[in-house]
């Protein structure tokens, strides 16, 4: 099986929060370019398949002529002073692409990391980008930057060859200089770029450094912003301050779906420096300090009209009943192979099971935040988002101004995990700033973040399967209600399949979450596989291998099993082991887990997790391990205890004291094995490692206790209860 085409990634149905795509305008002309960046050399890379236009539904537009072409991935500027600045619409949300992207530029330009400056996610300075999600930065953006950097190197060689009147093959680039091998004469970049105004467009075919020759990429390196982070100097949106800046707060409805009935603002407005902004149902405060803004907010007397809202108890019933028409999936959400009837008839063992997953919150440690400022009709907003251009479009729409009048700047962000695709805080801050005529900062409280952001979709998954006496799968029917279509299809070889995703009307606002529904679908599938193995009295590893031809998945499965010591030695009483494997976004993962269960209390602890992971060629091994460990640890929360509780339009557990996330004591012994396939292109890795954790742990719990858990989270209070038949 080959990698998913990119277009499929972007149209994953569970990106519910994206709504309509932004309109794309590209405003810079060649002259503007040099005006904005200064003289020197600009190298621009063209995107292969015009991703930008796919989202806005315009199809390909690759015309050049006057103005700039539309399909630009990134550009690099070699300043007249020899400085190197790279511009990308991607943003840094903790995945450390600031470092890995700098690494590929350093590689091609033969420079040190410190001499490269990366400008990220600034809609006035960087090319359009759909967003930082779907694990696309490494496969797409790293490749783009590699090309512009390699092309820039070639331009430098050409310039030096011209100046020296020598064959360019007698020249090379090293340590930020162009060197003539024969005479050892060298040029600094500045000597070559001085007085130039050169622009070069590069397409697909730029020769880049072969992976075997990587010196900088492919190696572990320190995070480029490490020092500013440990000294507290690194500035996130919530740390910014503008001259004369005010602090904002927004009045939240008493429940989802509530409308404002009456509002008394007198007490709030009598406070010094406080202004109340009302626009339809939007009510906000500006004040000279955050505490005063909070006090004023508390002094608002509002009456809300509520309407009946669904509650958590009826969730799974609702998701199955409230189906909606699927749009725009081009049939990718359903798949049939052979005939289920035939496959089931051939089965020796048949099994039908239902699995559920709860809504969970991303809860990035930095909540949504924005600083907004209007100047001469132009709006500038600093905000932590994964989609700077998407948020620019949202702002343009909200204030009915052209996008040329909006600038969104994304400082490095206190993480997102798929949870910051939207611009709520940006719009709110901009509305308040507009009223105040001064810059306004708005930082959501933890409770707001838990309530008014969007959640990972809840879902129901039903599986009906059949397997022959020898352990060969004969039939596989899989229905996912609401949680999403990512990783819907198994990689196992099954002759008869029927697979469907059913969109539903979700009671809560939902959207992308790290790895999307791949987590839910792997949980159901890999738990079901374990149930079948158990029914057949077969070893789960042997059972999987029997039905799996895909070599890359087999490789990680075998690697994980071997490092874990699968099948070796008996577990102690109360201990259990389990495994799961999967594929998503071009990378492959297998996880083996060991748990211990305290029999009387049912207290569960994950004691050991071994993960084997393969995502093609590895760019920064240490950072990759960091990402994998992070995904595994984050996965522990969703597997064992995270769940959003809600009732009548209210979130019941909107704080860390009521919504448990993984802490130091939850971390098991972790072993991570990278399978480095230098012969394959690098895929993104921030998401996929999470998908096999929950089923591996669930299977281990079954192995330890005989209790089969089919709902995430599996141990909401840290304990498992025998609530279902096994």
């Amino acid at each position: 099986m080959s990698e998913k085409p990119l277009s499929e990634v972007f149209f994953e149905p569970e990106r519910y929060e994206l709504g309509s795509g932004p309109t794309y305008h590209f405003e810079l002309s060649r002259r503007d370019f040099f005006k904005a960046l200064g003289g020197g050399i600009v190298v621009i890379s063209m995107l292969k398949d015009g991703l930008a236009d796919q989202e806005s539904g315009r199809g390909r537009q690759r015309e050049s002529g006057r103005g700039m072409p539309r399909e630009i991935g990134a550009w690099l500027h070699l300043g007249e002073d020899g400085s190197v600045t790279v511009y990308t619409g991607k943003v840094e949300v903790g995945q450390d692409i600031r470092t890995s992207l700098t690494q590929v530029v350093a590689e091609e330009l033969r420079l040190s990391l410190a001499s490269i400056h990366l400008v990220m996610g600034d809609t006035d300075l960087t090319p359009f980008d759909m967003g930082t999600f779907g694990s696309q930065t490494t496969p797409v953006m790293a490749a783009q930057l590699r090309k512009v950097s390699a092309a820039a190197r070639e331009v430098l060689l050409d310039l030096a060859a011209g100046q020296l009147q020598v064959d360019r093959n007698s020249l090379g680039v090293a340590d930020g200089k162009v060197i003539h091998y024969g005479t050892k004469q060298s040029f600094g970049f500045a000597q070559l770029t001085k007085g130039q105004k050169l622009m070069k467009l590069v397409g697909e075919n730029v020769p880049t450094t072969h992976v075997d020759q990587w010196k900088v990429a492919g190696k572990t390196t320190q995070k480029v912003s490490a020092r500013s982070i440990v000294t507290g100097k690194h500035q996130y949106t919530s740390d910014l301050k503008r001259p004369e800046m005010l602090y904002g707060k927004v009045l939240r409805p008493s429940a989802f779906g509530a409308t404002l009935d009456s509002l008394d603002t007198r007490a709030a407005e009598s406070m010094a420096g406080v202004a109340v902004v009302r626009d339809g149902d939007f009510v906000g405060i500006t004040a000279p300090s955050e505490p005063v803004a909070s006090q004023a907010l508390a002094a608002l007397r509002a009456e809300w009209k509520t309407s009946p809202q669904p509650s958590g108890q009826e969730l799974f019933k609702l998701l199955k009943e409230q189906r909606v028409e699927q749009q725009g999936f081009d049939g990718r959400s359903s798949y049939t192979l052979g005939s289920m009837a035939e496959g089931m008839a051939a089965a020796h063992l048949k099994l039908e099971r239902s699995y559920t997953v709860a809504y969970i919150a991303h809860a990035p440690l930095e909540p949504r935040a924005a600083v907004a400022e209007w100047k001469d009709g132009k709006l500038t907003v600093w905000t932590g988002t994964q989609r700077p251009f998407g948020v620019r479009a949202e702002l343009g729409e909200a204030f009915r101004i052209p996008e040329t009048q909006v600038r969104v700047i994304v400082p490095d962000t206190g993480a997102a995990y798929g949870g910051k695709h939207t611009g709520e805080a940006a719009i709110e801050a901009a509305r308040l700033a507009k009223a105040a005529g001064k810059p306004v900062k708005l930082v959501w409280t933890r409770e707001e973040e838990f309530t008014w952001a969007y959640f990972r979709p809840a879902g129901v998954i039903e599986i009906r399967s059949g397997v022959g006496q020898d352990g060969t799968l004969t039939a596989w029917e899989f229905h996912n209600y609401n949680s999403g279509a990512s990783a819907l299809r198994p990689l196992y070889d099954i002759p008869h399949q029927k697979i469907e995703f059913h969109a539903a009307r979700s009671p809560l606002r939902q959207g992308s979450y790290r790895a999307l529904a791949a987590t839910a679908n792997h949980f159901a599938r890999e738990t079901h596989m374990d149930e079948l193995a158990q029914g057949l009295k077969m070893d789960p590893l042997e059972f999987r291998r029997k039905n799996l031809k895909e070599v890359r998945l087999r490789a990680v499965l075998d690697t994980a099993a071997q490092s874990f010591g699968w099948g070796k030695g008996r577990s102690l009483r109360g201990q259990g082991v389990g495994m799961a494997c999967g594929f998503e976004k071009g990378s492959y993962v297998a996880t083996c887990a060991e748990v211990s269960a305290d029999p009387p209390s049912g207290q569960i602890k994950i004691t050991r997790v071994v993960t084997a992971f393969e995502c093609g060629a590895v760019i920064n091994p240490d950072n990759l391990k960091n990402q994998i460990e992070g995904a595994i640890i984050q996965g522990i929360g969703g597997a064992l205890f995270e769940a959003i509780e809600f009732e009548s339009g209210k979130i019941l557990n909107p704080r860390f004291s009521r919504y448990r996330v993984p802490r130091f004591s939850d971390v098991p012994q972790l072993e991570t094995i990278l399978v480095d396939r230098r012969d394959l292109p690098s895929a993104g890795a921030g998401e996929t490692p999470i998908v096999a954790l929950a089923p591996a742990v669930g299977n281990a719990i079954f192995n330890a206790t005989g209790i089969r858990l089919r709902s995430l989270p599996m141990a909401p209070n840290g304990q498992v209860k025998k609530s279902v038949e096994s």
């Binding site: 949300v93 903790g94 995945q95 450390d96 572990t220 320190q222 995070k223 912003s225 490490a226 020092r227 982070i229 440990v230 000294t231 507290g232 100097k233 690194h234 500035q235 996130y236 919530s238 740390d239 301050k241 602090y247 300090s289 955050e290 505490p291 005063v292 809860a363 990035p364 440690l365 930095e366 909540p367 490095d412 962000t413 206190g414 993480a415 995990y417 930082v443 409280t445 933890r446 240490d622 950072n623 960091n626 990402q627 460990e629 992070g630 995904a631 595994i632 640890i633 984050q634 704080r655 860390f656 004291s657 996330v661 993984p662 802490r663 130091f664 004591s665 971390v667 972790l670």
Partner: protein, 159 residues
């Protein structure tokens, strides 16, 4: 009512005129521009706002600024001395113990408090002491490793 308070932060005296019910965190961040201490929850649950008061880690978000009057406050900005990083800062960099980095100042401050009390902590002791500090990115194993490394470095360079 606004009151004038004298604070000692990172060895520097500050005079601030503020509402006394305000939290130390809000004063540090909004009035003094010391934004290394972060807001993560406002209820003492995440540790992002940790600062040292007389050497002990406290949650600045739930600490009224008035109770810190006359005490020595150390924030993450105060750990670097004459351009030399604190051994914990060094260790966090070398081990790569950070992802988005938002929790890291609070982690380092808590760890300074730990090593001050217990210069040679075992791994379980580190986990127990740090339990109140959240890292949503899941950098925990590396944070533990960094603390161990810093402890070792400190002992090595000590008398």
């Amino acid at each position: 009512m606004v009151r004038s308070l004298k604070l000692q932060i990172n060895g520097t005296p500050y005079n601030v005129n503020v509402e006394p019910e305000r939290s130390l965190l809000s004063i540090l961040r909004d009035e003094l521009g010391l934004t290394g201490s972060k807001y993560g929850c406002g209820e003492g649950q995440c540790g992002a706002c940790s600062v040292l008061v007389d050497g002990r880690p406290v949650r600045a978000c739930i600490t009224p600024v008035t109770v810190t009057e006359g005490k020595q406050i150390t924030t993450v900005e105060g750990l670097e001395k004459d351009g030399r990083l604190h051994p914990l800062q060094e260790a966090f960099i070398v081990i790569g113990a950070m992802q988005c980095g938002y929790c890291i100042p609070g982690m380092i401050i808590s760890a300074v408090g730990l090593l001050r009390k217990n210069p040679n902590p075992t791994e379980p002791e580190i986990r127990r002491f740090m339990e109140g500090n959240l890292c949503r990115c899941g950098t925990y194993p590396r944070i533990v490793a960094a603390i161990r490394q810093a402890a070792q470095a400190q002992r090595g360079s000590g008398p």
